[in-house]
């Protein structure tokens, strides 16, 4: 089976969908001739031509708005926002328009667009190349939000997102593009080729949106994570020796509430991890869900490990980043309470 890093897997998903479905068009800033600043669309314009894969003006609001129009016509646009930090000029089009089109038109119109955007930090990108704005979108009914953590999942989830008839925000943790980064920034980078999930079939497969994955079964505590934090959580579990069950949520909306509840009901403890800032982050929603579904099973307060409530700093990036030590400390706290 081919071995791919996450960029190659995303490229492969786009390739498969451009091949299979004439309605798929791919566009965004620098995605055409150049193939994207992260190379996710490399070679696609050469292969499918400029009418299917093209560069856009630097106008995120315009990119999403035209994608809605194309989607209303019947195309299946896949757009790239160069960094999640630059999605805000498109916020109105996403929140007021894409998300509500189906509802307000009584099902007459809909916008089957996919918005890809690299998210997360760990590359010294400073405040405007590091953000994780997922909770701004999970709060909006009508949008779906996906965040993969491996090449295999990235391809299958992206294909599912493109095939979905509702608007999907597809956040790609850029720190994972080249390897399963576990938060140990002072150690050499592990390439994806050493990881089983880098085996990615060439052809078409879809991973259904709304299904979490148990990436490490365990009995003592449930860890809920997504994106880069899945690998950080695995490292923390390994280093702390706790027999934790690590769940990769993969899609935040729709959320695999049953999968989460089944695990926490068994372990009786829960640690939630995300890189985004804390207050009103997606962890708050997860805590509410666990409390609603598992209150009588809980043996300890739910723990939450997140970025601090500050803009992503440049020099102090690793003091912001919720690394394995902070996750391990939370695991320990969860295990000490009974």
């Amino acid at each position: 089976m081919p071995v791919m890093n996450m960029i190659q897997a995303i490229n492969s998903a786009l390739d498969v969908m451009l091949e299979r479905d004439d309605d798929v068009v791919v566009f965004g800033e620098d995605v055409g001739y150049f193939g994207g600043v992260f190379r996710a669309t490399a070679g696609l314009q050469q292969k499918y031509g400029r009418m299917r894969v093209f560069d856009t003006p630097i106008a995120e609001g315009g990119i999403v708005a035209t994608a809605i129009g194309m989607g209303a016509y019947g195309l299946r646009p896949v757009t790239e926002i160069q960094f999640a930090d630059y999605i805000y000029p498109a916020f109105d089009q996403l929140v007021s328009e894409a998300a509500r089109l189906r509802y307000r038109s009584g099902g007459e119109f809909w916008a089957p667009l996919t918005v890809r955007a690299p998210c997360g930090g760990g590359i010294y990108g400073g405040p405007t190349h590091s953000q994780s704005p997922e909770s701004l979108f999970t709060h909006v009914c009508g949008l779906k939000t996906v965040i993969p953590s491996t090449p295999y999942d990235a391809k299958g989830l992206l294909i599912a997102a493109i095939e979905d008839d509702d608007p999907v925000i597809f956040f790609e943790p850029k720190r994972l593009y080249n390897g399963p980064f576990d938060g140990h920034h002072d150690r050499p980078v592990t390439p994806w080729s050493k990881h089983a999930a880098s085996e990615v079939p060439d052809g078409h497969y879809a991973i259904p949106l709304g299904k979490a994955a148990v990436v490490r079964p365990g009995s003592e505590v449930t860890v809920l994570a997504y994106g880069t934090m899945v690998h950080v959580a695995l490292a923390a579990v390994h280093e702390s020796g706790v027999d934790a069950e690590v769940i990769d949520l993969r899609t935040l909306m729709p959320l695999d509430i049953d999968g989460i509840a089944a695990s926490v009901a068994r372990t009786g403890r829960c640690v939630i991890v995300h890189e985004a800032t804390r207050t009103s982050g997606f962890g708050a929603e997860l805590m509410a869900v666990v409390q609603e579904r598992c209150f009588w099973n809980l043996q300890a307060p739910i723990e939450r490990v997140t970025g601090w409530d500050v803009p992503y700093p440049h020099a102090l990036e690793w003091d912001y980043f919720p690394g394995p030590d902070r996750v391990a400390a939370a695991l320990k706290r969860a295990m000490e309470t009974s």
Binding site: R50, D55, P57, G62, Y86, T128, H314, A315, L316
Partner: protein, 415 residues
């Protein structure tokens, strides 16, 4: 009754493509460059309706023989021009040194302004030192021309303990209140309408200071560009709005930003605002155009949109390799030449300068940069920034709220 078009032909979409890609020989043959000196200079309070040819013209002062010609020739002494040459050379030496520092792992990122030095330096010279500037990341020459210490800029780039911005910003996202330079944002175009707001405030208060802002050709596509023009035009705000058309926006040529059929200066026409288009590599022309716009703003005659026509000679940033999307030799063949070279030749022609003085000045600015960098590096570099960890939580709000105090405690405890 419904109406249908009979025999309608199939529609086709136009996707702009630049003339040359890697492997092609650079070709600027389609560029129509009017000769220097031919364009009349209208009075700075002229009615906008009489200025609508200017966005399609090109203000040029230095001719092919390096002489300064025509009505736009600015009233600038030779001494001031020599200072301008020095500021441009210092800017270029600074850029070279910081690029090298980035390559050695001392900085995470850097953006050069090579080939665009006249834009920042001549424009800074044409404005009053108290005017407020809202630049993009490619006008480091504004800070240098205003005499802001290059050590300070270097500390920002190294993100070290000497950085006034406390290591928070990506390198090149300067902020220098004392020099009248607003904090840069990584989000393109956001500051363009903010500059208009600053200028509106200055006018509301009966102040005498004007504002100026800069965006690239690519950034003109953002809605904020149009917000700026609308507000500037509606309120006749005392502001100068600059578009630095360096032909490229990372890998996208100016045609992708809408530069194929109309000039960027011509955006002004639709807003009823004065628009000037100027040879951005001609120090004298840039100065003249900016001075005209500044006089117009100071006379309450309204805002001006200036397109500075230039070429991004270097990579977009240290993360970019332009040989993937444009011919390698393109920069060297830019028909409007290099701004430093052109001003130098003009000064030599005026017998105010010589090749040997040029060489001596080169050594002088190189040494100045080397000494400043030594000083800056002694305060830390990326990876060893020596920035106080507690400072992470400062300045989110004016005073530290309880929840951030608690988070700071937790960071101290958990490391």
């Amino acid at each position: 009754m419904n109406q249908f078009v009979n025999n309608a032909q199939a529609l086709r979409l136009h996707i702009p493509e630049p003339q040359c890609r890697p492997g092609d020989a650079p070709d600027f043959g389609a560029l129509r460059l009017p000769p220097a000196g031919g364009l009349p200079r209208p009075g700075f309070t002229a009615d906008e309706s009489t200025l609508r040819h200017l966005p399609y013209a090109l203000i040029r002062v230095l001719d092919d023989d390096d002489a300064a010609v025509g009505e736009w020739r600015p009233n600038l002494g030779l001494e001031r021009l020599c200072e301008g040459l020095r500021a441009m050379m210092l800017t270029r030496a600074f850029d070279e040194a910081m690029q090298r520092a980035q390559r050695k792992g001392k900085a995470s990122f850097f953006i050069k302004s090579t080939g665009e030095e006249a834009v920042a330096v001549a424009q800074a010279y044409a404005l009053d030192a108290r005017d407020m500037l809202f630049p993009s990341y490619r006008q480091q020459g504004l800070l240098i021309a205003r005499g802001w210490p290059i050590e300070q800029m270097m500390c920002q780039i190294l993100s070290n303990s000497g950085d006034q911005l406390k290591g928070r910003q990506l390198p090149t996202m300067y902020s220098a209140r004392e020099a009248g330079v607003f904090s840069l944002s990584g989000n393109l175009g956001t500051q363009f309408p903010q500059a208009v707001g600053w200028a509106m405030a200055s006018a509301l208060r009966g102040d005498t200071r004007i504002a100026a802002s800069w965006v690239g050709d690519g950034t003109t596509a953002e809605a904020d560009f149009h917000h700026a023009l609308t507000f500037a035009s509606v309120y006749r705000a005392p502001v100068i709005l600059n578009v630095v058309n360096n032909q490229w926006a990372i890998s996208s040529f100016a045609g992708i930003a809408g530069g194929e059929r109309a000039t960027f200066a011509a955006r002004a026409i639709g807003y009823g605002m004065a628009g000037l288009r100027v040879d951005g590599n001609d120090f004298l022309a840039v100065h003249a155009a900016t001075q005209w716009a500044a006089e117009r703003a100071r006379a309450n005659a309204g805002a001006t949109l200036i397109e500075l026509y230039t070429y991004r000679a270097a990579a977009h940033s240290t993360s970019d390799d332009p040989s993937a999307y444009r011919p390698r030799e393109e920069a060297a063949q830019w028909p409007l030449g290099d701004p430093i070279e052109r001003l130098k030749r003009h000064l030599i022609r005026c017998e105010a300068w010589s090749e040997s003085r040029q060489q001596a000045l080169q050594q002088e600015v190189d040494e100045q940069v080397r000494a400043a960098l030594r000083q800056a590096e002694s305060l830390g570099v990326i990876g060893d920034t020596r920035i106080e960890r507690d400072s992470l939580f400062d300045d989110v709000y004016k005073t530290l709220p309880a929840h951030l105090q608690a988070q700071r405690e937790q960071l101290r405890k958990e490391g």
